[in-house]
Symmetry: C2
Subunit: 431 residues, 2 copies
Amino acid sequence: MSEKLSTQPYKGTRDFYPAEMRMRNWFFGVIRRELENSAFEEYNGPMLESLDLYAAKSGEEIANKQTYNFLDRGDRRLAIRPEMTPTVARMVAGKMGELTFPLKWFSIPNMYRYEATQRGRLREFWQLNVDIFGCDTYEADLEIVSSAIRLMRAFGADEKMFTVRINNRRFFNDVIAAITGKDTEGSKAVSKVIDHKNKVPREVYEKELTSLGLSAEQIAKIDALYHMNVTEATDLCPDSRGAGELRQLFDALEKMGLSKYCIFDFGIIRGLDYYTGSVFEVFDNAPENNRAMFGGGRYDNLVDLFVKNAKISGVGYGMGDVTLENFLVTHKLLPQTYGNGVKVLVTRFDDVPYEKYMELTDTLRNAGIVSSIYLGQKKFGKQLEYAVKGEYSHAIIMGGDECARGVVRLKNLSTREESELSVTDAIELLK
Amino acid sequence: MSEKLSTQPYKGTRDFYPAEMRMRNWFFGVIRRELENSAFEEYNGPMLESLDLYAAKSGEEIANKQTYNFLDRGDRRLAIRPEMTPTVARMVAGKMGELTFPLKWFSIPNMYRYEATQRGRLREFWQLNVDIFGCDTYEADLEIVSSAIRLMRAFGADEKMFTVRINNRRFFNDVIAAITGKDTEGSKAVSKVIDHKNKVPREVYEKELTSLGLSAEQIAKIDALYHMNVTEATDLCPDSRGAGELRQLFDALEKMGLSKYCIFDFGIIRGLDYYTGSVFEVFDNAPENNRAMFGGGRYDNLVDLFVKNAKISGVGYGMGDVTLENFLVTHKLLPQTYGNGVKVLVTRFDDVPYEKYMELTDTLRNAGIVSSIYLGQKKFGKQLEYAVKGEYSHAIIMGGDECARGVVRLKNLSTREESELSVTDAIELLK
């Protein structure tokens, strides 16, 4: 073999060397602690699923385009999961009789999407999924929104750094119908235009609405919604179920002291075909990155691809690792060190039997102190160099003299201070 | 859609519902704590790699057969990783100049292999990989073997439950040469026969050795090796480097008090083409399952597929999750509960404003007590039923009367005991 292989990872994927991995373990640890503290339970499923699961939801073509998929030797078309909802729907459907609803579940699966890579968008990523299944009322929406806020706060973020923008799809439909006087079909056509408002020039937007029969006054009324608070907006169709849900949610958020994080935003739609009630997106407030980081909402019929006549609704959010990591970097919320920072290298000399060092290392480890013996037979200076480069906090030095007197020298590698003491005292100090 | 989709996961993969996931998080937690305590550092890499990485190591055909692989839209042939070594080799090669050797690294990646499923062998599994890179001497072998023992002990296993069977590939080659008097090529042919000794009838084995020119006496000498201890075996070729390594390793294991876990076993070979020094396998001692659970050893030229003229050796082991989980079940080493078991459901009544319950739940959560408000509007009896089925340990009950008096009732759901106390006292009690 003279042709050498590339050391680059596959495009859009990442290598996690120990420094990056420490950060990730801390990152996932914060998430797990926060969600478990609120009695959410973790689950996971396989990386590979039948492509049918995704095709049934979003159509064969999109499923094919967005996923890595292939035939196995049994001619079954498999996909690497591009999202978690079909898997969790399958799992809930599979044990519907045994599970106790409402379920509060979360997962942090890795997944793949076939897409052009750019900042914040990779081909391999991890996505936190938090959901409540089987509770139809606003209490679950509130729990989900406040969970997203608690999570951001657990990372040290405050109300100056992020905002939760909230809308309601039922309210959206009802207020459009109220303003336009159209039936369900007619409202839907108007909704489609509004959904891509920001993707077309203003003239095109107005022309499209006009061609659907809307007057300038009606268009102005819709425009006004984008600047209204929740009371003003819901007053436009006070009897709408969606308006009631919105008011209940904002009222409860206020009573929980969470309204400083939240704002009503008529612009939050999140695609037309999936969500059915509350919808929300969490925005980064940093001017250089003022955009939605993640979001979620309420949807119906979680299990209907699997079980006839069963209706389980869900409300939840999904959050990509890359997006939140970028946020933490932007707002300087990453810790300087992970863990307590103590990591001890036991150095060695030729005039002391190796087993003395092994014994010492064992004693440290059994006391819960992260430690290693120096592996190999290099000179003392090289051993210390290894300790410093390897981010050890301390070195323990025990030559023949110290060994005979039953003491060690403990060297702090950042301050360079060194002191002679017993192993017991060294352990106390390191703890 | 009248045709409903299956709720079964893909063959050879598993769904992890919360009960299984709690077990896995505990399981990986034990592994992480133990290895980090010994100053091993965690890394990870992508699930997808270029198929070349595996083909270069084990040949195109085997790589094709054992991996899930496919072309991406850029006509690049990708594989879902069936093992971790090629990935870590790529990563080490990619930063060779920056890394500080010896490296002590571990990873717990999920991976896929295309194979017939059976007990202990699935298509999707997790595999712990523990390695030391860049230390050529026996100290690293010792650290790796003792790490495997520490890990088993961290799970509560003792010397009655498992045995580490150790051999050395250099010694193996040298002792075969010493017994047969053959050169390297000749010894290799004999080794191949010995390697599949247990896979063919005894007559076939003897016939093959005879046809390679071995006498009955030489065959008997090889047979005898399987019953020798390390001193007897290494005395057959005392000057072999491999014999020296074996003696050093066993000597150190004895001095560390680990020899009760370890035995010399000439039958441990682990394939002929990969390992170059120490090799070992950890056996389950249970009579119903007396077989190798996992193993490892020393290998050379980790990075030579990537970097010209670079030589980095490694020593390590790989352990599948399924195998070790089976071991823990067999030896009843799984804990009864995970975590401290406290999980509180705040129940609700209509005569108290909902925000009072939210406040209470917030207070519990901020005190670090796993808790949830009951989501939904069912009767009290149904709420308690939910708490019991959902494995909550306690329920907090606060009706209008309690609320007015500033107290709650705390119900222990296993003992059914109930007491009235202040929220502060309830938190103290729950902690």
